[in-house]
Symmetry: C2
Subunit: 187 residues, 2 copies
DNA sequence: CGAATTCTTTACCGACCCTTCCAATATTCA
DNA sequence: TGAATATTGGAAGGGTCGGTAAAGAATTCG
């Protein structure tokens, strides 16, 4: 039920989503919503927390908890591509959308965004460290490479949400793969 | 006067900005606004066009119309850094903010975003082509490198708008500089 | 000067916003 | 079963939203 709320905010954004929309999509009564969540803002915070938690899990599962090195990153990119080019892919990333919509006026959103990106860095860094231990890449410049991948993820979210043609997404993904490949020592 | 409107939409976004806000900040009367611009949507389109036009000019001036190669890119990054870390830097980029806010429901916004990113690519590509002619970098992989720089620009917009601490912006910028430097043939 | 036209001001419109209240209903628990 | 508690339904409150109509002021132009 809360998942419906997540999808609605994800689809439309915070300001553009009214409590009436939420009543409609959840089937719950307006009073029940206010009893359970307090206010629209609190409901949004709850939905956003649910979203980021699941996202972080998915990212961790592929990158931090993986066993390979660069291949974990490549598999992760495949997952990203599949999701990004699906019919719901143009919703982008709720964490990014919220950062740009409310980052200027809501401190809790600032913290959410900072934490979210931090989790992403940590997962990517773990995969790169494994790749270094395996001898696939050199151990230097890990931090820079983490930033590069994070930047690509941010960009993909924006570009997908912006309704870009599939070719443009493919171009970014190809560049991302080429970048990772260029790190291989045996190339 | 239109510049005030641009700043307001830039600061708050489309949905969060009311016509009353605009009346207040411009000093113009509400009827005058509707006489001149037709509707809130049209006024926003006008303001957005003004913003993107100026942005593209700034980007072109540094990259497409430059005379050096990689140094033009480095100078451009310096400009980006100065603006990004200024007190108004946390407004991010109106084109990006608008893409994530309205990209899902407004076709003209989709086109604006696609065009905006296209202009960016064209400018960056021009600088990279010059760098290749000068022998600073190899001529291959230009398209991938264009995508990498575009991705960094998108990411910086999101991260800045998200209220990230200065150190995080610095980290992304450092990685961006390191990336460009790594393309140099004589390194 | 005086008539025609443009621009500005004021007041207001219906719709929708988030939220609350209160009566009606369902549920729990003794 | 009967009383206490929680949950629901729908209406309405207080505001703000984007947008407009008509009266008033200023300007143009003969």
């Amino acid at each position: 039920m809360l998942d419906r709320v997540v999808e609605l905010f994800w689809e439309q954004g915070f300001e553009a989503t009214s409590m009436s929309d939420i009543v409609e999509v959840t089937g719950l009564n307006k009073s029940s919503l206010y009893n359970s969540f307090g206010s629209k803002d609190q409901l949004f915070q709850t939905a956003l927390a649910r979203y980021t938690s699941r996202r972080e899990q998915m990212i961790h599962a592929g990158l931090r908890d993986g066993t390979a090195g660069l291949d974990d990153i490549m598999m992760f990119l495949e997952m990203v591509e599949i999701e990004m080019t699906s019919d719901t892919g143009s919703r982008g990333c709720l964490a990014i959308n919220t950062s740009t919509e409310l980052g200027r006026c809501d401190q809790s959103v600032v913290e959410m965004g900072t934490r979210f990106r931090g989790e992403m860095r940590s997962s990517i860094r773990a995969a790169l460290d494994r790749a270094a231990e395996l001898g696939e890449i050199g151990p230097a410049a890990v931090e820079h490479r983490v930033e590069m991948l994070v930047a690509f993820m941010m960009s993909l979210g924006v570009v997908a949400r912006g309704g870009a043609p599939k070719a443009e997404l493919d171009g970014q993904l190809a560049a991302m793969r080429g970048l990772v490949d260029s790190w291989r020592l045996d190339s």
